[in-house]
């Protein structure tokens, strides 16, 4: 690629415009404050904030994390200060940076989801990411996201009230993710993000207790990457709205793998705990790959897999 043709990293994910396709994944990046000490948040395309609910939530009993081979289980259980405090305290902080804000929204009931969407539609954010896939709460979350009727009802009701790009986050804990994805698309989702965590469990054989205080938790990190790549590939081929891919991404190369599979953008979570610089560094690594391979526009990477 000639020098003049610097890789163009801008993406437009169904109305969510970002200067590059790298987003910090919800629940792994707080509201950005903590990592602002480590790098300039403006280097990222977007930040998906910690999962929000109408009222503050206290979260699950500890321990909330267990380490597994190449991954982690978490059972945070959506601890958050509530959507109002988010709007009041966190948006102004994040707005100091040139980075898209994705508000990750959860609820226990259909009404909760609709209220969240109404409230967030008036807030200064760039996208609402409906979390229909949290495995760590008793009500809502994954329950809605793992059946077609469930997802159809929540997404279509939210759609009516939503005045922001509406991204729907899918759970991998389903038999056929393409059916769920198509139901979300049909119900009015502007884009999809996947995967949330896989339901898992670990036992301490010394004490014979589950390591997590909540018994089960959500698996993320490198271990899940092949499952996530497969689902992104399947979903990207099943729907015509853009897909944001995640699950175990730990480098720009991993991000490229998801984009080749069909992702329009990517999110990175767990790997950032090990190396916070993976977030900004991946942006440069994607650009490096594009330059080496002669891709001028990052959008051309999406789905550029060559099948056998």
């Amino acid at each position: 690629m000639p020098e003049a043709m610097k890789a163009d990293l801008r993406v437009d994910v169904a109305g969510l415009r970002m200067k590059n396709p790298v987003i910090a994944a919800s629940g792994t990046f707080g509201f950005g404050r903590e990592y602002a000490d480590y790098f300039d948040l403006s280097l990222l395309g977007g930040v998906s904030v910690k999962g929000l609910t109408l009222e503050p939530r206290r979260g699950n009993r500890p321990p909330r994390i267990a380490e597994t081979p190449g991954g982690i289980l978490n059972s945070v259980g959506l601890q958050n200060p509530g959507v109002h405090k988010f709007i009041e305290r966190e948006i102004p902080f994040l707005r100091q940076y040139d980075v898209a804000i994705l508000a990750n929204a959860s609820g226990s009931t259909l009404e909760d989801y609709v209220s969240m969407v109404e409230i967030l539609s008036d807030a200064d954010i760039d996208c609402i990411e409906l979390n229909l896939s949290c495995p760590n709460v008793k009500q809502g979350g994954m329950t809605f996201g793992s059946s077609c009727p469930g997802i159809t009802s929540v997404v279509s009701e939210c759609r009516k009230k939503c005045r922001k790009p509406l991204m729907v986050k899918l759970t991998p804990n389903v038999t056929d993710i393409t059916e769920i994805a198509k139901a979300a698309e049909a119900a009015g989702a502007d884009s999809l993000s996947l995967i949330n965590t896989l339901l898992g469990m670990a036992i301490d054989i010394e004490t014979r207790r589950p390591i997590l205080g909540n018994t089960m938790g959500g698996l993320s990190g490198p271990a899940v990457k092949p499952i996530a790549v497969r689902m992104v590939w399947q979903v990207a081929n099943a729907v015509s709205i853009p897909v944001v891919g995640m699950g175990g991404i730990s480098s720009g190369s991993d991000a490229v793998e998801f984009m080749l599979a069909g992702a329009a953008a990517v999110m990175i979570g767990t790997a950032g705990f090990v190396d916070p610089l993976v977030w900004p560094k991946s942006v440069g690594e994607i650009a490096g790959y594009m330059e080496k391979k002669g891709f001028a526009d990052v959008q051309a990477l999406s789905g550029a897999i060559r099948l056998w």
Binding site: G27, T28, F29, G30, R33, E34, Y35, D37, Y38, K50, R58, G59, N60, R61, P62, P63, R64, I65, A66, E67, P69, G70, G71, I72, N74, V76, Q79, G221, P222, T270, G272, F273, V274, D275, P276, L277
Partner: protein, 257 residues
């Protein structure tokens, strides 16, 4: 993140190692009670970083000591590191102990690996009357007695099996002392049951107590909310986070259960 050179590795006991890092950055910034979050290699079995407290700081030669016990795969890998190699550390992280004012008096109560962060705390309060009460399983597990006795005005050791010092729990040593002394602050770090007893003793007597909590961690910086610890919240409780709000807390704020 930061790559710090290991200048020495010492085996202090069967399963306890001291790692000495050369780092002007750390000697200048590390405060007692803070911790480092250290990467233990790229193994399948220890993906996350491990939190290890700052044990001592030597401004003179620009080195920092951390001391750790081999507990599982992560600390095992740490123990295999060699002088000359670089450790990948985040930190210093967390909130430090609040010192007692010069002229006052302090008692530190440590159990097992909980003794390590207390050494540097004592060193930073030279004008305070300092008592160290340290509990270990057995005589063979006692480490850094010399270091502690050199920075404390008075040191007592308890072992569970009576093989050295007081036969019994370190909490009993504290109880005895508090019959006759009233320190300006008690600092405690160790197993949960020990911390609970000490905290209750102190609160009962109106003595300020600072506790250093442990919890399994993810990010170490306050972003993932996994390192939850119960905190009094009116009549109820909420979850605070050990890595960012702690690891050092006012004992009155913590709910032990």
């Amino acid at each position: 993140m930061h790559r710090e050179r290991i200048v020495r590795m010492e085996r202090l006991s069967d399963d306890i190692f001291r790692m000495v890092l050369q780092s002007g950055r750390l000697t200048e910034s590390a405060k007692p009670g803070q911790f480092l979050n250290i990467r233990c290699g790229h193994s399948l079995q220890a993906y996350l970083r491990r939190p290890i407290s700052i044990c001592d700081v030597h401004a003179g030669d620009g080195t920092v000591d951390i001391v750790f016990q081999i507990r599982g795969p992560g600390t095992e890998l740490l123990g295999e590191m060699k002088p000359g190699e670089e450790a990948d550390v985040m930190g210093p992280l967390g909130n430090p102990f609040k010192p007692v004012n010069p002229g006052g008096s302090a008692i530190v109560v440590g159990g097992g690996i909980g003794t390590f962060p207390l050494l540097y705390l004592l060193r930073t309060m030279p004008e305070v009357k300092r008592t160290a009460l340290l509990g270990f399983r057995t005589a063979g597990a006692v480490v850094m007695a010399k270091e502690f006795s050199s920075v404390a005005d008075c040191m007592e050791i308890a072992t569970d099996d009576g093989s050295l010092g007081h036969h019994g729990f370190v909490t009993e040593l504290l109880e005895k002392r508090l019959r006759t002394e009233r320190p300006d602050c008690v600092y405690v770090c160790g197993p949960m049951p020990m911390m609970r007893i000490v905290t209750e003793q102190c609160i009962g007597m109106g003595i300020p107590v600072q506790v250093s909590m442990e919890q399994r961690m993810g990010c170490g910086v306050g972003a993932c909310l996994v390192c939850a610890c119960k905190k009094r919240d009116g009549d109820d409780f909420s979850y605070t986070h050990v890595c960012r709000e702690g690891p050092v807390f006012d004992g009155r704020d913590i709910v032990f259960d």
